[in-house]
């Protein structure tokens, strides 16, 4: 019965994530992969963990780059691109959108803008990280 309750809670969480637009269809795809049984049962969790670690690192890198007196915007570009790739792979829609938003600032070479955009990315990432972590806890 506890399992059922947990299951219900997980479903509610997932539904909430979908309705708020935090994750998109790609995340559904991942879930369906897991449910196929073709992959290991912890597939989503594994990808989510990978994503969280990766994104954490990238965000730290970008922050470090932007902390420099002279910002190497090309590097920022590369990092943001990577983060965008990761987030779109995992279906973290809001982080992906934030990365797209980021683009205009490093193209304009505006440090201020980049910092703001980074803040946005970070906040979106925190959101999705919390949700993912909750999700993984519930799944276990």
């Amino acid at each position: 019965m506890a399992a059922a309750a947990l299951r219900a809670q997980l479903n509610a969480l997932l539904a909430n994530m979908f309705t708020t637009g935090m994750v998109d269809e790609q995340f559904q795809q991942l879930q369906s992969l897991q449910e196929d049984g073709g992959s290991a049962s912890g597939f989503v969790a594994e990808v989510a963990t990978l994503f969280i670690d990766d994104a954490d690192r990238i965000i730290a890198d970008i922050a470090a780059l932007l902390d420099q007196p002279v910002v190497d915007f090309d590097k920022v570009d590369a990092h943001v691109h990577q983060l965008k790739g990761s987030s779109s792979s995992v279906g973290a829609q809001k982080v992906k959108l934030a990365c797209m938003h980021f683009r205009q600032f490093y193209e304009a070479k505006s440090k201020e803008g980049c910092l703001m955009a980074l803040a946005l990315v970070r906040s979106e990432f925190c959101d999705v990280r919390n949700k993912f972590q909750t999700m993984m806890q519930l799944e276990q």
Partner: protein, 949 residues
């Protein structure tokens, strides 16, 4: 000068006239004088003849002094101008003594002295009493008199002396006539005449009196000065009449010659005006009048010119001011744009930081403060964005994009944007897009969304109950519904608002939520008509490139007051000042929407009734864009809905047909067949198959869901439903137990607890939410069904990829993992490497891989470079093999070519074109993350049955 010329000419004219006058008068006077004189001369002549008569044949003559004196005295009236006449006898010297004796006196000279002896003498013997003092004086003793006498007797005519002063102190001349003894013929010789001469008759002629009398008789005497001169000696004219000194002024004068009968003497009469001839008045008034007129005309011209000048100057100033104003306007817009941008940038930072702050551990008050700050910040940002938009539109800088987009997903986005708000307020928010609206349209999705977002945002703001309903139809067949129904308008005007509102609450209207709408065109009747068009007329209107959409946003809010309806689209105008207090906002949104709609060559208008609601309707012209015309890469942009629900069918229980249609629309988009009934009872009937029309419309399809609207869910309906299901299962009618899903506005958890249902979908509905929720609730059964489907033949990804060896190259672990997972799902054997170099290691010929998926952007060696090297390796292998072929001739065709299909994996499907990929030796590209259809298409070429054989 003209004036003076005129003046001169006038004066000259007057002068000429005066001259003519003087000539005329002078001639007249001269003639009259001449005549008068002649008359006087004739009298003297007659007297002379009388004296001569007395001398005829008589010696001594029968005449003596007394007789003469008496006669002349008595006839002096005939000669008024002669002061006196006297007769002098010719006495030869030889006769002197005898004469003296006879007379008794001696001849004296003029000086009263005894005359010296002369050849002859002319002593006066008879004289008029008035001149008796000259009796006995020898007239020939005076030089001049002698001359006269000699001349007169030689010619036989009257002779004049030069003028001199008479005794009366008047100027006069002496007239002398000869008296002959015999009657001489007119042609007698001088000698004969001298010989025949008996004596001389003379008289003093008072010329002055003569002229005086004459002039007195004539008119115009006063103004005329008449002078008469004796000009016998030209160099020394002698005055006979008038002032001695001629008037100095060269005033016009005229000179006439006078003939007084003495050919020896010449006389002139000179007439001139007494005074300077005055300038005629006309000579002064006319030019001065002309002058004044000219001055006036000149002034008028001058004034007009001045005015023209000043007007021109004013005009120039206006022009300059206008330019400045325009420049200022442009500057204003630019300023707005710049400032807005400058404010936006730091505001984004503030908002981002607030977001982060809210993620940290906060006390409830702190959280409240931070949230308030965030809300304010967001409001500010949206205001600035709107101002910026407005400025851009005004500056004409706003240009619409033309890119393909999916209208339905745009509307889904709008719905998701407002879903939380509508849920909070408990309002139905629904979207319906007509089937005939093409799936993909060319236009500006951002701006289109902005308009709808704005309208829906307004509606949400002003609506407390009821619904907000967004509909999109094609213009051509929504025409029948564009006329607002008269009855509803009449309701609004006739004042029975209370009544209608009572009606609206008591009797549910046939709208989305049951509340009355301002524009009754969205009632079920109209809606049904539109739907019938949708289904019947599918082929219509596909010929033209333009698609005119009619979008209406209907709400059941407070409506717009009648008096404010006229200025709804004016910027910064709200219905009244209390609006912004109660509801916030700036009122700029609608004016922007209007501009945007006009940019899309559409129109926007609305119908609104206070306390009933508003319906905004706009049209927009977009371009048609056939789905197959867009290349595959772009279609990946458009977030296609999951297709895994194909073939499912549902039964929908909803008492409101409009709402049911909306739900069906969403289900249809997911490929789910649906059937709607009004009540649970009907639903049970359908489930039992009792109803004639029941499941015949969807034959062979499995009923997998029962969707029930929460307000259509009758009390205690769940128990009979359960039992029915159990019955059915036992009867074997249904192999799968249908999921009962509740559609609800309220929070899903509560509802689920309240109603005994399998799952709750929280409205507002949108396809993706529906899909997600259905995934959750139907979960395994569906995916299994999909799996079954996917095992079919080689035309599915599963068939293509099963057992294939695939190398995935990506530096991003997450991507790598996801890609691997996806590919494995389709049965492929996947190997992952994280760099181009590693990939090259694995791909040394010979290798086992059937396909390589390569990320493009990688550190050290990017996808393009890696591919280039792979191709190089392959080329080398070919060379070697060719060499080997030379030695070993029996090579099989299977190993004819090493060419590993390399597909680029890219997120930027827009940037990556097919050309660019093939340039670096790649064979194509797949989107990242994988999109099933696109992956299938890309891979099919290389791994499909034709390729692998």
């Amino acid at each position: 000068t003209g004036v003076t010329a005129l003046h001169r000419s006038l004066r000259h004219g007057a002068l000429v006239k005066a001259e003519e006058g003087i000539v005329c008068m002078c001639e007249e006077r001269a003639r009259m004088l001449q005549d008068q004189f002649a008359v006087s001369v004739n009298h003297v002549h007659a007297l002379a003849i009388l004296v001569a008569t007395f001398h005829y044949e008589k010696q001594p003559p029968a005449l003596d002094q007394d007789t003469f004196a008496d006669y002349t005295a008595r006839t002096s009236f005939e000669r008024p101008l002669l002061s006196g006449v006297a007769y002098a006898q010719r006495v030869m010297h030889a006769d002197r003594e005898a004469f003296e004796r006879q007379q008794g006196w001696i001849i004296k000279t003029m000086k009263h002295e005894p005359s010296p002896p002369q050849d002859e003498y002319a002593p006066v013997i008879y004289s008029q009493e008035t001149v008796s003092y000259i009796e006995g004086l020898d007239m020939m003793s005076g030089e001049e008199d002698r001359e006269n006498i000699l001349r007169s007797r030689a010619t036989g005519k009257a002779v004049l002396t030069r003028p001199f002063r008479l005794m009366s102190n008047h100027l006069g001349v002496v007239l002398t006539f000869p008296v002959y003894l015999v009657d001489l013929p007119p042609d007698a010789k001088v000698e004969d005449r001298v010989a025949a001469t008996a004596g001389y008759l003379g008289g003093a002629f008072d010329v002055e009196s003569l002229v005086e009398n004459l002039l007195r008789q004539l008119a115009g005497n006063q103004e005329l000065v008449v002078n008469v001169y004796d000009v016998t000696n030209h160099s020394n004219p002698l005055v006979m009449y008038g002032s001695e000194v001629p008037l100095g002024a060269p005033s016009p004068s005229h000179t006439c010659t006078l003939d007084f009968g003495d050919p020896f003497r010449n006389h002139h009469m000179i007439c001139r005006y007494r005074s300077e001839p005055h300038v005629p008045w006309s000579a002064i008034t006319t030019p001065s009048g002309v002058f004044v007129i000219l001055m006036l005309i000149g002034y008028i011209i001058y004034a007009a010119w001045n005015r023209y000048d000043s007007v021109k100057e004013d005009c120039r100033k206006m022009e300059a001011l206008k330019k400045r104003a325009e420049a200022a306007d442009v500057a204003k817009s630019q300023f707005l744009a710049t400032v807005s941008h400058e404010i936006r940038t730091p505001m984004n930072g503030v908002l981002g930081m607030l977001d982060m702050l809210l993620d940290t551990e906060l006390k409830s008050t702190q959280r409240d403060f931070a949230q308030t700050a965030q809300i304010c910040g967001k409001a500010l940002i949206s205001l600035i964005n709107e101002v910026l938009d407005r400025a851009k539109i005004e500056a004409g800088k706003l240009e619409l994009e033309s890119v393909p987009f999916d209208l339905r997903s745009i509307l889904d986005e709008v719905v998701s944007l407002f879903s939380s708000k509508s849920r909070e307020k408990g309002i139905e928010l629904a979207v319906y897009v007509s089937e005939r609206v093409p799936e993909i349209l060319l236009g500006d999705p951002g701006r289109f969304r902005q308009i709808i977002t704005n309208l829906v945002g307004n509606s949400i703001k002003f609506t407390e109950r009821g619904h907000i309903f967004v509909q999109v139809h094609l213009a051509d067949h929504s025409n029948l519904a564009t006329e607002p129904k008269v009855e509803s308008v009449a309701n609004g005007i006739n004042g029975h608002i209370d009544e209608t509102s009572v009606v609206s609450t008591s009797v549910p209207h046939n709208t989305l939520s049951g509340f009355e709408a301002a524009d009754s065109r969205n009632s079920w009747e109209n809606f049904k008509a539109l739907l019938s068009y949708d289904t019947n007329d599918m082929a219509y209107g596909s010929d033209s490139g333009n698609v005119t959409l009619v979008v209406s946003v209907e709400d059941t809010g407070i409506g717009i007051p009648i008096h404010a309806q006229g200025r709804v689209f004016m910027p910064f105008m709200q219905a009244d000042s209390s609006t912004s207090r109660n509801y916030g906002g700036t009122g700029i949104g609608l004016s922007i929407s209007k501009c945007l709609v006009e940019l899309m060559s559409g129109q926007i208008n609305f119908v609104s009734r206070p306390n009933v609601g508003s319906t905004f309707t706009f049209t927009a012209v977009l371009q048609r864009c056939e789905r197959n015309a867009i290349n595959v890469s772009k279609s990946a942009l458009l977030h296609p809905l999951p297709s895994s629900f194909q073939g499912l069918s549902t039964l929908l229980v909803d008492k409101r047909p409009v709402r049911a249609t909306v739900t069906e629309y969403h289900l249809q988009r997911l490929g789910i067949a649906s059937k709607s009934v009004r009540t649970i009872e009907q639903a049970l009937g359908v489930l039992l198959g009792r109803n004639g029309t029941s499941l015949t419309s969807m034959p062979r399809k499995q009923l997998s869901m029962l969707l029930v609207e929460s307000d259509s869910w009758g009390l205690k309906m769940d128990v009979p439903l359960r039992t029915r299901f159990l019955e059915m299962k036992q009867n074997g009618c249904e192999s799968v137990f249908p999921q009962v899903i509740l559609l609800s506005l309220a929070d899903s958890d509560k509802m689920k607890a309240e109603y005994a249902v399998d799952s709750v979908i929280t409205k507002p509905l949108k396809a993706s939410t529906l899909a997600a929720c259905l995934f959750q609730s139907l979960g395994i059964s569906i995916t299994q069904a999909n799996n079954e489907k996917k095992h079919h033949g080689p035309d599915s990804l599963y068939g293509l990829l099963l057992g294939k060896n695939i190398l995935v190259v990506d530096d991003n672990k997450v991507n790598l993992r996801v890609a691997a997972g996806t590919l494995k799902k389709y049965g492929a054997k996947v190997e992952c490497v994280e760099s181009g170099k590693d990939a090259l290691e694995r791909l040394q010929v010979p290798h086992k891989f059937d396909l390589c998926l390569m990320d493009i952007q990688m550190p050290e060696m990017d996808g393009f470079e890696a591919t280039r090297q792979i191709r190089a390796i392959e080329a080398k292998a070919h060379e070697q093999r060719d060499n080997a072929d030379n030695s070993d001739a029996g090579s099989t065709a299977k190993k004819a070519q090493w060419h590993l299909p390399v597909l680029a994996m890219t997120a930027d499907v827009i940037q990556a074109t097919h050309e660019e990929c093939t340039k670096y030796g790649m064979d194509g590209y797949v989107s990242k993350p994988f999109e099933e259809k696109q992956l299938f298409k890309a891979v099919q070429k290389f791994l499909g049955p034709s390729a692998s054989s």
